[in-house]
């Protein structure tokens, strides 16, 4: 019962956060969006009218014609509801409702690779690539990190422990994107093994596309893993150090249970709740961090899309991408919470 209540409270909070994020995003870009939308209407109406020369011919003077065009524009603005400012409750309500249903409208400047301007299609095209790169990287990082961390945590003070700890501390202060630049310098300038730009040059329809994508993915993947696993190992190590000092581990040691079994079965199991939580968080956190990394490697995913949208102020894409990123982030926080509750009985029973 307590678990149910817990889940419901979390869900309500998450939804609240999602709404606040949306509201914040819209209010930050709202005034710009209004201008852009109105300009769009003006262009559209003028285009329609000039496309039919008989309309222009039916007016005697140019003033009269201008007045007609202006009237048409005003009418169109009114039917679209643009005569009210963006912060009016109806407009915000409508925008948020549409976004909730994943209807982001059409992009102003950017298009998908297949040429579509539908924001949903663009995002659907880019999202799998970001997930491919960053989820793969996070999984590799966590596997290396957990084993290295468990190993060095069980042998505090050993050479491997010291190397792991210092590597973790040093690597955490290097920005990933800077290491990325160095990797490009090393592997595509000095040794020409990998391409400098991670966007495959062959079209999506080509059967070799997947292979080419994987080949282009290698350099960013190595970079992210290299910078990421140290911090993970250090984290797991610190949990392990704490757990290895607990009484039940000592008593298991006294009972003469195999050391490896103690580390990987009993100790690691007890360190699992925080580790799983962090894993869930870092999976989504990596999506946000993707913006800069993808910009360096020119990886054609969500991060680069977001960055391009910001540079040209393509507002529908900015709003859509922020929404999707937030949804992913919230879902993973939620899963992390649930997992934590599952692993840690104190939370489950509501104590």
């Amino acid at each position: 019962m307590a678990l149910k209540k817990y889940v419901v409270t979390r869900l309500v909070t998450m939804f609240g956060v999602l709404m606040i994020t949306l509201l914040l995003t819209i209010s930050l870009v709202g005034s710009n969006m209004d201008t852009i939308l109105k300009q769009g209407v003006v262009f559209q109406v003028r285009g329609e009218i000039t496309a039919d020369p008989s309309i222009a011919n039916s007016f005697s003077s140019s003033e009269e014609f201008e007045e007609f065009v202006q009237n048409q524009i005003d009418q169109r603005i009114e039917t679209l509801g643009l005569d009210e400012p963006w912060y009016s409750p109806q407009r915000i309500g409508l925008t948020m409702y549409k976004i909730l249903l994943l209807d982001f409208g059409n992009a102003t400047f950017l298009t998908s690779d297949s040429g579509s301007t539908d924001v949903r299609e663009i995002i659907l095209e880019k999202l799998p690539r970001t997930i491919l790169l960053f989820t793969t990287a996070t999984i590799i990082i966590s596997v290396i990190g957990i084993f290295l961390g468990a190993f060095s945590g069980s042998k505090v003070g050993s050479v491997i422990d010291r190397i792991t700890s210092s590597f973790a501390i040093i690597s955490s202060s290097f920005p990933v994107w800077w290491i990325g630049m160095l990797m490009i310098f090393l592997f595509s300038f000095v040794y020409q093994i990998f391409p400098a730009r991670a966007t495959p040059s062959i079209p999506v329809s080509d059967p070799d596309y997947i292979l080419s994508l994987l080949y282009h993915m290698t350099l960013p993947l190595i970079t992210i893993v290299m910078i990421g696993f140290g911090a993970w190992a250090y984290l797991v190590r610190n949990f392990m150090v704490g757990i290895m000092q607990e009484d039940f581990i000592t008593s298991k040691k006294v009972m003469g249970i195999n050391r490896k079994k103690i580390i990987y079965k009993h100790a690691l199991k007890n360190a699992a709740p925080p580790i799983v939580t962090i894993l869930a968080l870092s999976l989504s956190g990596s999506l946000g961090g993707a913006i800069i990394t993808e910009a360096v490697f020119d990886w054609p995913g969500m991060g680069r899309l977001y960055f391009e949208a910001i540079t040209v102020m393509d507002l529908p894409i900015i709003i859509g991408a922020t929404y999707i990123l937030t949804v992913f982030f919230l879902i993973s926080i939620f899963i992390a919470d649930l997992l934590y509750g599952y692993f840690d009985p104190r939370v489950r029973t509501g104590q």
Partner: protein
């Protein structure tokens, strides 16, 4: 949980990491002071003004690289302190400026530029000669300055690519044993006479201004022999001296990192302690708000904020703080919850002390070691986040940070062009600054969390 200041200091001095951190940090502070004192802020505010850097070479490698090379790369020379002589007879006055320099490299210079401003009346004759180490004297240019009846100031930059120079040198091709018609001016002037290879030694550039008026003057006179190596740190695509950018980045990075860290830790500490101490409804509401901020995706929001509101560095510091205090608030709340149950807090409450006083007197001091550790630990995050935003081109253009240098490097494809001196130093500086604080933070952390010590 409680430590005296003395204990903390002693423990800290025992940790090698902590001392290393303090050492790096003091070095960085010294660099910042040197930068602020030695480089006038005018130079630094001109960072994004291309005309300020026009005398500098494009993407020049750092000068010290020559120490490791057998074939020396020509260094860029900017000379603005000529030996000045003045002679005047009854009718003709001669002003002569001499630039003497040693050319000791295995490649030809990129170009040479003479930049001057002359005050004269009439139409004086400007002549440029070069006396080479082998004694050959080459005439480079003789031209008359535009005629003017009144005293006027004429500013000009004479480039080695000038057609007149080319013609003049072609007329003197008998000195050379090889055809010079397709060579550029600097390739002829700096070449040996028998083969086309750079001639090493002392060169003298002589600039003579002949005029009938003895009031003629050359107040500004500058000779640039363009090279491919420059200074300690080299230059970038926009000819900017990277040493200046790197030096000035130090105080900026420290400022951003420390201000953001202190502001967010103080904010989080007060917020968390207040929520934890008050408890009940207040705690619930405050922690829900905390959850909301925690769940906002920070980087996308920082990007939107800097694009739509302002990219001023001070506004940016505020934004970074908004996203920085959340974690500290969570931890200090749970610490406050623990401290609250202690006997002396009960006692203080029973004695009727005010709540604000209990928080300030009895709870906050307990959290100070943790606060210092978290300040140190949050500095690198603030610096890298600012660097990241600058890297995306969202930095404050009036304050060139390391991130912005890297942004320019990325825009001009420095990595795939192999311009290592443009990429390595800013990143290393970011990392070193981060490391200093990580070291200090970790040393403090070990003291605060004794569990990690074993």
């Amino acid at each position: 949980m409680s430590f005296s200041q003395q204990e903390i200091r002693n423990e800290f001095l025992k940790s090698k990491m902590g001392i290393a951190g303090i050492f790096i940090l003091s070095t960085l502070i010294i660099i910042s002071m040197v930068a602020i004192i030695a480089i006038p802020s005018e130079t630094f505010s001109e960072w994004n003004n291309p005309s300020n850097w026009i005398s500098y070479p494009k993407v020049a490698i750092p000068g010290w690289v020559n120490l490791f090379l057998i074939e020396k790369i020509p260094e860029h020379k900017i000379m603005n302190d000529p030996i000045k002589k003045m002679e005047s007879s009854e009718s003709v006055s001669t002003i002569s400026h001499q630039f003497v320099f040693n050319f000791d490299y295995d490649d030809f210079p990129n170009d040479f530029i003479y930049e001057f401003s002359a005050e004269y009346a009439g139409s004086p004759l400007l002549e440029i000669l070069v006396i080479r180490p082998d004694g050959v004297q080459l005439e480079i240019l003789s031209t008359s300055l535009p005629n003017s009846d009144l005293i006027t100031t004429h500013t000009e930059r004479i480039f080695s690519t000038d057609e007149l120079i080319k013609k003049k040198l072609f007329l003197q091709s008998e000195y050379f044993n090889f055809p010079v018609d397709n060579l550029s001016a600097e390739d002829i002037v700096f070449s040996k006479t028998d083969i086309h290879y750079p001639l090493k030694g002392n060169y003298v550039y002589m600039i003579n201004l002949y005029g009938v008026n003895s009031q003629n003057q050359i107040p500004e006179s500058k000779l640039i022999v363009g090279g491919k190596a420059f200074g300690i740190m080299g230059t970038d695509e926009l000819r900017r001296d990277l040493a200046i950018g790197l030096l000035w980045g130090t105080p900026l990075a420290l400022f951003i990192g420390i201000v953001v860290a202190i502001a967010s830790v103080v904010m989080g500490l007060l917020y968390g302690v207040y929520a934890g101490y008050k408890g009940k409804k207040t705690d619930e509401v405050m922690m829900r708000f905390n959850d909301v901020i925690y769940a906002l995706p920070a980087l996308p929001f920082l990007i939107i904020l800097s694009v739509t509101i302002s990219n001023s560095i001070f506004v940016m510091i505020g934004f970074l703080t908004i996203f920085g205090w959340v974690g500290v608030a969570k931890v200090s709340r749970s610490m406050a919850l623990q401290i609250k149950t202690r006997g002396y807090i009960d006692a203080a409450e029973m004695m009727g002390q005010r709540k604000s006083k209990i928080i300030i007197r009895h709870i906050l001091p307990q959290l100070l070691p943790y606060a210092f550790a978290s300040i140190a630990i949050s500095v690198p995050a603030a610096i890298t986040t600012e660097a990241g935003l600058s890297f995306l081109g969202l930095g404050d253009p009036s304050f060139p940070t390391w991130g912005q240098i890297l942004h320019d490097a990325n825009v001009y494809g420095a990595a795939s062009r192999g311009l290592w001196w443009w990429i390595l130093p800013p990143g290393i500086m970011i990392a070193i600054t981060g490391l200093a604080f990580v070291f200090i933070g970790n040393a403090l952390d070990v003291i605060v969390n004794p569990k990690l010590k074993r």
